[in-house]
Amino acid sequence: MQYKDYYAALGVARDASEEQIKHAYRKLARKYHPDVSKESDAEAKFKEVAEAYQTLKDREKRAAYDQLGTHRPGEDFRPPPDWQQQWQGPFGEGSAFGEQVDLGDLFAHLGAGFARSAGGRGGRAQMAMPGRDFEVAVPISIEEAYGGTHIDLDLAMPEYDEQGRLRPVPQAFRARIPRGATQGQRLRLAGKGGRGFNGGRNGDLYLDISLRPHPVYRANGHDLYLDLPLAPWEAVLGTAVEVPTPGGAVRLKVPAGTQASQQLRLPRRGLPRPHGEPGDLYAVVSLVLPREVGERERALYQELATASNFKPRAHLAEEGSHAH
């Protein structure tokens, strides 16, 4: 079994008071709780913190944990010989203390073990227990959202064995992500969570879809946006350009007089919806200028400057004249 330092996880001393443990937990929970945190590894960090707190906040569990002694985090260790007799939990049999047992699972079920073992051995055997539900984050690319995909999941699910002992069982399976799942979509895999025990239903696995950033497209729901830089003359005179879409490149007509930051809509070229019309794709126009111009170009710009009576700052001049 691998040792975990629960005191270090909470950043408290081994002789910390219950109050100090609670304070440390609350502070870290606010920082790392996956429902409120924006930290990138919030979920894993919170799991560590919560696991530590669940054990240390309970006097009996904390005493049991302290008796394991101190080891280096991750060090493989075996509990002292009399530990099991004293803290007889669901892992009663000696064989249960293999390397596979997770310390967190052990302590999570220690309390349940106390309660049941008080009423005699084998209490767990009569009780149906539902498997746990799990949520996993599934980042996919915009192309995968467009065309649908499948993902391979490698998870370690805590499961009860025939003796009602909990141990992590590696589960590998493939799930189909249907077309049209976009940012924030939740999908459910029925019965793929933790396995139920003694007739209890299997838990579910929830997939939390997010879209990975894309070099060309930006997604808003099922609509996609991309940048369309135009040269000034293209915007003034109009043109036709080829733009990429997830379904393949298309020709887009840019009307004469197109303005910067205008959005040109390509209907139904965004992400498909599970039901109903696909989203749209918008080309967001920006005007770009050459950094350097040749002599001939400069002459033409000069001619344009002389010939044009376009006043781009007319509204500022008007504002200025009101002030006097």
Partner: protein, 107 residues
């Protein structure tokens, strides 16, 4: 090794009764009742005799269970946190909507 391909269920494709919502969320019954009565977890059709709940209700209820368990919150505090998280999500949605419309490359 042959890997079994599993089909997913769109959460939107399902509607749940109160009891199913209770089971799937893992919330204590009394707390779920309070959250529903206070409007924190709205049914699909509030006027229905046997209200049904949709995907959103399930996600809110599961979030409520996590928050209640991890922060030891009561119903009033939970409702406040759920409301605020909802507003954060709405504002982030609007921010994203504005950001996608801005050209990314300043030329």
């Amino acid at each position: 090794m042959r890997i079994e391909l599993n089909e997913v269920i769109w959460l939107e494709a399902e509607t749940l009764s109160f009891d199913e919502l209770l089971e799937r969320s893992g919330l204590p019954a009394q707390l779920l009742k309070e959250l529903v009565q206070a409007g924190g977890i709205p049914p699909l059709d509030p006027s229905a005799a046997q209200p049904q709940y949709g995907a959103r209700a399930l996600m809110v209820a599961r979030r409520a269970r996590r928050l209640q368990q991890d922060f030891e919150l009561d119903a009033a505090a939970l409702l406040l946190v759920l409301d605020l998280l909802d507003r954060v999500a709405e504002l982030e949605g609007r921010l994203n909507e504005l950001q996608v419309k801005l050209p990314r490359r300043a030329s």
